[in-house]
């Protein structure tokens, strides 16, 4: 996305007016664009989701967890059969893959890795805000984030008034009591609290859809498709950490991929026509070792793949500079190497969806680190 400074100023001015309460139809001339990030926690195995075709060495190293049936993506890459909805998007030019990529974390700790995948920094636990939150803040997207999880993930911290949704079956105090609480908040000028309370009061608590991935995604899709609704949503899929019994077409890793695929399916269904203005990206802390271990699982690795879907995808393609899987081509002799800093993908996505200059994102969100602008290659302007 190329945008000159004047256009940029126009956008920010409009956005700030919008939030000043002028209610400008700020997205009238241009459709509201959405960004969804699905965090795959535990280390998603890019080589299981998008395996390379015809690499004998790879097949040998993974004799017990190879996929016998796959979906075909390109002449070089296959797709895990659990990702059937991703494949459906692919067939419509609405899905692509960036392979052999990683966040700049080379250790093997989940916690450090997860912290860094969310913070976008290069030192674990150093940043108190997330790259997505900082990006939203830069774009003036206050009150536009939605996390489908209980604590607000670090990823979207850094911009005020995000909403999160992860319901439990319980009820709020009576309306009368809520009124009293609200009055108290106002009396003590607790602005953030009263604004949060007003979000809460608009929520239908009699309606309890549950917290499984698909239902959460249906809810998120509904809200994102609303022209006045949030523009960013964050999901979490856990348990990619398959040290044992990773499985092939079926098994622990397949279940996790399926959960991702179900989220994609539900989002696509509930986003409806706004799917075309949406970008859905995955994020993980690291990939997994090429070689299976004694327990038919894999260990913490390095390079992995980012799955991208949505109407803002330019075309279905496996992007990336394939580093090869020969011993000397591997990272530390055991992992798929990363030939692209995954933050380049996320910075480009924010540039596209938030209409922000890439260089500003690079500077203000990613600390001026060296990143590549991939917007034109990966996404529609």
């Amino acid at each position: 996305m190329k945008i000159n400074r004047r256009d940029f100023l126009k956008t920010t001015a409009a956005t700030s007016l919008f939030f000043a309460g002028f209610g400008l139809p700020s997205f009238a001339s241009q459709n509201k664009k959405n960004l969804v990030v699905i965090m795959l926690e535990g280390g998603m195995d890019g080589l299981c989701a998008v395996p390379i075709r015809g690499d004998k060495n790879f097949k040998k190293l993974r004799s017990k967890i190879n996929l016998k049936k796959t979906l075909k993506l390109t002449s070089d890459f296959d797709l895990h059969p659990a990702l059937e909805n991703f494949k459906a998007c692919w067939d419509q030019n609405a899905a692509s893959v960036f392979h052999a990529t990683s966040i700049p974390y080379k250790g093997r700790s989940h916690f450090e890795g997860q912290d860094m995948m969310m913070s976008g920094g290069t030192v674990p636990y150093q940043e108190k805000t997330g790259w997505l939150g900082r990006g939203m803040n830069l774009a003036g997207l206050k009150g536009n984030g939605l996390a489908m999880s209980l604590p607000m993930p670090l990823l979207i911290r850094g911009v005020p008034l995000n909403n999160n949704y992860f319901p439990i079956r319980s009820s709020l105090p009576q309306k009368r009591l809520l009124n009293i609480i609200e009055e108290e908040f106002n009396q003590y000028s607790e602005k953030d609290l009263s604004e949060t309370l007003s979000i809460i009061r608009n929520r239908d608590l009699n309606y309890f859809p549950g917290t499984n991935a698909s239902t959460l995604a249906l809810e998120a899709g509904k809200l994102l498709s609303d022209p006045n609704g949030p523009r960013v949503a964050v999901f979490k899929v856990e348990n990619f950490d398959t040290h044992a019994a990773q499985g092939g077409e079926n098994g622990a890793h397949a279940d996790c991929l399926k959960e991702y695929d179900q989220i994609l399916k539900a989002l696509k269904a509930s986003l409806g026509s706004t799917f075309k203005d949406t970008l859905i990206l995955t994020l993980t802390e690291f990939g997994r070792t090429i070689k299976q271990n004694g327990g038919n699982g894999t260990e913490h690795g390095y390079g992995t793949a980012v799955l991208m879907a949505g109407g803002l995808i330019k075309k279905s393609k496996v992007h990336g500079d394939w580093p090869g899987l020969k011993n000397k081509e591997l990272f530390q002799g055991r992992d798929l190497n990363a030939t692209m800093d995954a933050r380049s993908i996320y910075a480009s996505a924010m540039s596209t969806v938030f209409d922000l200059d890439f260089k500003r994102i690079q500077k203000d969100v990613f600390f001026g680190d060296k990143l590549e602008n991939l917007s034109d290659k990966l996404f529609k302007a």
């Binding site: 030192v123 636990y125 108190k128 209980l150 995000n162 319901p167 319980s170 709020l172 809520l178 607790e190």
Partner: protein, 433 residues
């Protein structure tokens, strides 16, 4: 003035009188560490609790996995029973009762609030089932018991505590040039001796000088070398749950240099290194800032932290003096700042101020009735489950850096909804009937 009681403690009970001198009232509470308020019979030391942990881990990972190799459902059943037998679902609530009795029922809630601060500073995050068996006891024995000692003592004791060594992987921190590195079995089992710098990094980053201390990756590695060999002792059979010892055969030989200072080979260097870290100016500043952030505001000023740093310098990091200084600052800035409490402190405050406190925590006689091997009732599971649901379980932090002290991090819709819901439930469930 009521805000002061909320900030340094958990507010006042409906029938509680305000002390004529709140500052003295608060400061007096941190001079010594009195006995725990909880009078239940199940209070065990960290070492005693390890027995249950060992049973759980060893049985689960060896016996049961073998026995039910081809029967996943059978494994699940047996695993559940094992958890009942070892009290895995009972201990967390029992420990939460002990913890919360200090905040709600004791006559030193200020000490309790600071105890919670330090347990979060020296977090044991949720891993290896430590949260079920060990973390509660660790927080009593290595954190609370050291609140009337120097910070240096607390750091040292927490560092070589078994749960901390386990949690930060120092068990696997073995000198690459150590005696053990040359042993034949390492080659056979393909388990080369390597440094694991996790614990060393956290000791500097989270526990003492923080990144502002300006250490490099090399400093981290050198400190890791000093820490090699500190691990559960190998007996003939196993190292599962054994006491932490300095095992010289796993220690990296030679001198090490951390932040420009050289340390000798051997056991004594860890203690000296910790002494140097806690005497680093960044350490005082880091802790003083954190205390102000916890008690007063998200954005402490230089003026706020200055008296705490001074008290630290004058007393050589004697915690009662540091705490008193922090309380005084909180007192002086009381009217100027607001502090949105973290979910656990909010929960205790709600119970305390509503007067529902007489039925929470679950009374001792109910907790004492529990017998190992049996199902844990819903009522007994509730405190454990609720803390998780309000977003702050003191034994289940996700990361070694513990929970945030920033108000802004606790202001999310879902977390506020739950506060509203549970405040209502607390009233109905725990009010005096």
């Amino acid at each position: 003035m009521k805000n002061f009681f909320r900030k340094v403690a958990f507010g006042l009970k409906p029938d509680e009188k305000i002390s004529s001198d709140p500052l003295v009232w608060a400061q007096k509470q941190v001079e010594t560490v009195p006995e725990l308020n909880w009078k239940g019979k199940h209070i065990y030391s960290e070492k005693e609790m390890r027995k249950y942990w060992i049973t759980q881990r060893v049985e689960e990972n060896t016996t049961l996995r073998k026995k039910y190799k081809n029967d996943p459902k059978g494994f699940e059943r047996a695993e559940k029973q094992l958890e009942y037998d070892t009290g895995g679902k009972y201990w967390p609530t029992n420990e939460i009762c002990i913890r919360h009795a200090e905040g709600i029922r004791s006559d030193h809630p200020v000490l309790a609030k600071l105890w919670y601060f330090w347990t979060n500073h020296f977090t044991i995050s949720k891993t290896q089932r430590l949260h079920q068996y060990s973390t509660g006891a660790y927080q009593r024995e290595f954190i609370r018991a050291n609140m009337d000692k120097t910070f240096e003592t607390m750091v040292y004791e927490a560092t070589v505590a078994w749960p901390m060594i386990m949690h930060l992987d120092n068990k696997d921190n073995i000198g690459p040039k150590s005696e053990s590195a040359r042993q034949e079995w390492r080659r056979k089992e393909k388990r080369p001796a390597t440094l694991n710098e996790n614990h060393a990094r956290e000791l500097m980053e989270l526990h003492t000088i923080s990144p502002k201390g300006g250490y490099t990756q090399e400093d981290v590695q050198e400190l890791a070398k000093i820490m090699t060999g500190w691990r559960p002792k190998w007996t003939k059979k196993s190292d599962q749950g054994t006491d932490i010892r300095f095992m010289s055969d796993r220690h990296e030989p030679g001198k090490k240099t951390v932040l420009g200072k050289t340390y000798k080979n051997g056991r004594k260097s860890l203690k000296i290194a910790i002494k140097d870290l806690v005497n680093h100016p960044s350490c005082r500043e880091f802790i003083a800032t954190k205390l102000c952030r916890y008690l007063i505001t998200d954005q402490p000023t230089k003026q706020m932290i200055a008296p705490i740093i001074k008290a630290w310098e004058l007393s050589d990091g004697y915690l009662p003096e540091v705490h008193k200084a922090a309380i005084k600052v909180a007192f002086e800035y009381n009217d100027k700042y607001k502090k949105f409490q973290n979910p656990e402190n909010w929960w205790i405050q709600t119970i305390n101020m509503s007067g529902a406190s007489y039925a929470y925590p679950i009374p001792e006689k109910k907790m004492d009735r529990f017998k190992l091997g049996f199902l844990v009732t819903q009522e007994l599971k509730e405190p454990d489950w609720r803390l998780e649901n309000i977003g702050y379980h003191p034994y289940k932090a996700k990361q070694p850096n513990g929970y945030s002290d920033l108000s802004t991090d606790w202001l999310s819709t879902e977390l506020i909804i739950r506060r509203l819901m549970y405040a209502k439930e607390a009233f109905h469930q725990y009010k005096v009937k």
